[in-house]
Amino acid sequence: MTLGTTTPLAVEATGLDVTLGGRRILAGVDLAVEPGQVLALLGANGSGKSTLVRALLGVVPTSAGSVRLFGAPLGPSAPWHRVGYVPQRMPAASGMPATALEVVTSGLLHRRRVRPAHGGRRRALAALESVGLADRAHRRVQEMSGGQQQRVLIARALVRDPDLLVLDEPTSGIDIPTQATFVDTVARLHAAGTTVVVILHELGPFAGLIQRAVVLRHGRVAHDGPPPAARPEHAHADHDHTHAHPDPEPPPTGPTITVEVTP
């Protein structure tokens, strides 16, 4: 690629093989992500999406192939300070208290920085502010809801102002209003030129932002190109929706309760 000589690709993986516990999870995956692109990684559970992302960031070892981030191979010389990673969920609590501010501050560290720089606290507070958690900075993350924990993890990735943001199912188990704030955040970063790689189960609220979709199946790339359009016929009022199974039983007789969800 001629472009590579001037602006290196944000992510460049060639012939990536990952074997975990004797099972081949990824087989010969090639992936090149242009700077500024918003890419969705799609695929069923177990298709290797999370493993691919972890291999790209050096979390799991690769048995073959190479990964370059912004032109530099994985390792000490990689530009780690330009990469922000949002895992699927916070690790299980060990009982040791940790505040949101402490968790976000740990995002300031990378290969060449083992102590937070001056102004780290201010930057961590600003990152928490950007995800709407400024008032919870000094709360234990263990006492937060799943959605708030997810926002803390996003703040931890944003605190170092990444040029490449990698999100692993950021909207799983998150309510609609919070999903919308994530989409706004990603849209803002995209407008500022950040490259975004996001694992999704369905495009959902991200649909308008995704420029390219890579679909994995059994550890191989099954589709690489424009995101699959939602099938419009499903939305038609006269769409005949059939289920393979019979209709569920009507709910049992009980008190008259109506729950309405307003926008």
Partner: protein, 351 residues
């Protein structure tokens, strides 16, 4: 009367050395313990302590072969070497396969004790010689021992506090630390090494069998009340100093073993703190955990006043749940049309 006794205690050179060692160990051990608890390796200190016993005996053996005047001159260096090697092995086992880590730790426990007992006999000593290492002998702290303690405690505190954020990051979320390119293995080894050094300096104060208690129990007390990682560490360190000094002070008046007294005192404090916790915790009655949430769920326990009439439900089912995008929208509560029938009047477009 009591004051005179305190002055007398503080002017005794032996007690001065012992108190200084207790303060240093009491401050340093919980700092390391905080990282161990966070890594779910609270028992690691015990494993290292058992291995260090073999190191003590090995140092004794080498000392007797070399014909050193006090036979145990090399006991402490032997303990340092064995503890560091043991901690690195434990860390490697943890990193490689999580399933056998538990078993490997058990093997080290038994191997360490058995090796120590066996080697001390070979070296011409008796099990009685090991007792002072197993249960501590703070009254025998010499000036050179004290300098070792000062240097190692300074090293442990320097690493533990100086690299606090990095060690926290690695212990809190190892995957994220790897994805940030942090030297995860090096930092994990560093935690293991400072744990090993702490074991060897605390050996003289509380003994190898009780070392882990001084690392872990103050942390267990602190995390009952502290809200942040940093405060847990500070509070644990303060508790460690207080129980060490008070426990040691008690042994000045009563003929009781210092190591055991310190540990029992710490556990008593933990019991009291845990019992009083529900009463002492601040209540925040008006604290809504989700103040930013819009009240988007309306519960109407009366007949639905929706403009679109709900289709008559079979069997008198009146339990309808409508989740519509707009309040005046369609009712989703109507029973779904049977599959195969084209029923646009059924309302809810099922997709």
């Amino acid at each position: 009367m009591t004051w005179d006794l305190v002055v007398e205690m503080l002017t005794s050179p032996l007690m001065q050395r012992a108190l200084l060692a207790a303060v240093l160990v009491g401050a340093a051990a919980p700092v390391v313990g905080t990282f161990l608890v966070q890594r779910r390796m609270a028992l690691m200190g015990d494993g290292i302590g058992h291995v260090a016993l073999t190191g003590v005996a090995l140092g004794w053996l080498v000392g007797s072969w070399a014909g050193l005047v006090p036979q145990d001159a090399l006991a402490v260096p032997g303990a340092v070497v064995a503890a560091v090697v043991g901690s690195v092995v434990i860390e490697l086992v943890r990193e490689r396969g999580r399933t056998s880590g538990d078993l490997a730790l058990a093997l080290m426990f038994y191997g360490g004790i058995a090796g120590g007992v066996l080697l001390i006999k070979v070296a011409g000593g008796t099990n009685a010689n090991l007792i002072s290492y197993l249960f501590g002998s703070i009254s025998t702290v010499s000036t050179s021992d004290l300098w070792w303690t000062v240097a190692l405690a300074a090293l442990v505190l320097g690493v533990g506090l100086g690299l606090r954020t990095a060690l926290f990051a690695v212990s809190h979320d190892e995957e994220f630390a790897r994805a940030s390119g942090m030297p995860v293995r090096l930092l994990s080894m560093l935690v293991a090494t400072i744990a090993a050094l702490t074991v060897t300096i605390a050996m003289r104060v509380v003994g190898l069998l009780l070392v882990s208690a001084l690392m872990i129990v103050p942390v267990a007390i602190a995390q009952l009340y502290a809200r942040s990682f940093g405060r847990t560490m500070t509070l644990a360190s303060v508790i460690g100093v207080v129980v060490s000094v008070v426990g040691l002070g008690l042994t000045y008046w009563q003929d009781i073993p210092p190591g055991a007294t310190i540990v029992v005192l710490a556990i008593v404090v933990y019991t009291v703190a845990a019992t009083l916790r529900p009463a002492l915790q601040r209540r925040r009655p008006d604290d809504d955990p989700h103040p930013d949430m819009v009240d988007d769920v309306l519960i109407v326990d009366d007949v639905c006043d929706d403009p679109v009439p709900t289709a008559p439900a079979p069997a008198g089912a009146a339990h309808a749940i409508a989740a519509t995008p707009s309040r005046a929208g369609r009712t989703g509560g109507a029973p779904r049309p049977t599959p195969g029938t084209d029923d646009p009047a059924g309302g809810a477009p099922a997709t």
